[in-house]
């Protein structure tokens, strides 16, 4: 017969927390050990009582009283709503003011507003067209300049030949290295001083 199991194992067995191998071993032991059989029966009864303790009663209106005690939620409003509302309010106030001070009827006010926006669009359209045209001319000039630069570079490389190009690249790299490391040393000296 195997050694008597620890009481902890009895509880774990009853809770189904013991592995299948240990559970089988415990069952085999209990079959031939009267003391452990009694101990297991006692813990089984206790386990049944532990797992069936009654819940605490909660008043019907408890959830309501919890909800009443909560602060108001801070819901983030959409960012575009405020400016749009302000613009709409300003337009409404402007229209109302115009209606009150000009002495015109609502229809005449709306007609005047429509005319105003019409004039605005009529004046803005040629200006926008001119701006676009100017932009396209500037873009063309920039393109021509870039093409001219590339043509000049081609002519220059033809004059220099392969050795000349290699020499220019080498000199350029040397100057770059000197500039980078020279600047670093200069900065380093600055930190030390």
């Amino acid at each position: 017969m195997t050694a008597c199991p620890r009481p902890e194992s009895l509880y774990l067995y009853l809770e189904g927390e013991l592995g299948p191998y240990d559970a089988r071993k415990l069952e085999e032991h209990v079959e031939c050990c009267a003391a452990c059989r009694d101990a297991l029966a006692e813990r089984r009864l206790l386990h049944e009582a532990f797992t069936s303790l009654p819940p605490f009663e909660v008043p019907e209106d408890f959830a309501r009283s919890v909800m009443d005690s909560l602060p108001e939620p801070e819901v983030r409003k959409a960012a575009w709503r405020a400016p749009l509302a302000a613009a709409a309010a300003a337009l409404a106030v402007g229209l109302a003011g115009f209606y009150l001070f000009s002495g015109l009827s609502v229809f005449e006010v709306l007609l005047a507003v429509n005319r105003f926006f019409g004039t605005l669009v009529a004046q803005a359209t040629p200006l926008a067209a001119r701006t676009l045209k100017l932009g396209s001319v500037l873009l063309k000039v920039a393109g021509d300049l870039v093409a001219l630069g590339f043509a000049g570079l081609g002519t220059f490389s033809r004059i220099l030949g392969p050795q000349g190009i290699a020499l220019v690249i080498g000199l350029g790299a040397l100057l770059t290295l000197l500039a980078v490391f020279g600047a670093r040393r200069f900065l380093h000296q600055g930190e030390q001083s």
Partner: protein, 186 residues
């Protein structure tokens, strides 16, 4: 679990009805836990209200990777600890084994003495457990209640209390054996 996450998500968007559903779902388990920790129903209801308020105010910090119930009970457990600290009530160190008046709590083999609990009906046993539970140290009682009243798994309790699973199992066992011995003595 998914339902809880959806309710939290709705509550975060300002839907108070969703949070009310959370409250209705957890009011009883939470009060059962707090009631057994404080020993008073009225105090348990006050605590439960405060826990729900705390949960509501820190809802944005809830991570859906975890179960909502363990998150809520972690708040409740910390709330109790804060309360006891303020009241300066004695607490039991988690690292020290708890002994009863008779000395050792953990016999190496099951007690072969004739059973005492068999004399009682289940209802009587429950009533005795409730009374005996009040005398069990809070550190053990809490883990016992989380396991057997709230039916959390050992792993979930370990998460709530930030303890190793082995420690939780051992302490729940200590609580049960302590209860058994207290019942024998009654």
């Amino acid at each position: 679990m998914t339902e809880d996450r959806q309710l939290v998500s709705r509550a975060l968007k300002g839907d108070r009805k969703a949070f009310e559903m959370i409250v209705r779902k957890y009011e009883q388990p939470l009060t059962s836990y707090l009631g057994r920790m404080t020993g008073e129903r009225e105090a348990a209801l006050d605590f439960a209200q405060e826990v729900f308020l705390k949960a509501y105010c820190s809802l944005a910090s809830y991570r859906p990777a975890f179960k909502f119930s363990t998150w809520l009970f972690k708040i409740a457990s910390n709330h109790l600890i804060d309360h006891w600290r303020k009241k300066k009530l004695p607490t039991v160190s988690i690292d020290q084994p708890v002994n009863d008046e008779d000395g050792g709590l953990m016999p190496q083999v099951p007690d072969p003495a004739p059973s005492v609990v068999r004399k009682f009906e289940l209802a009587e046993i429950r009533a005795k457990i409730e009374r005996a539970l009040e005398s069990v140290p809070a550190a053990l009682r809490e883990l016992f209640v989380l396991r057997h009243v709230n039916e959390f798994s050992y792993e979930e309790i370990a998460e709530i209390k930030s303890l190793p699973v082995g420690t939780v199992k051992n302490r729940v066992f200590q609580a049960k054996e302590l209860l058994r011995k207290r019942m024998e003595g009654s």
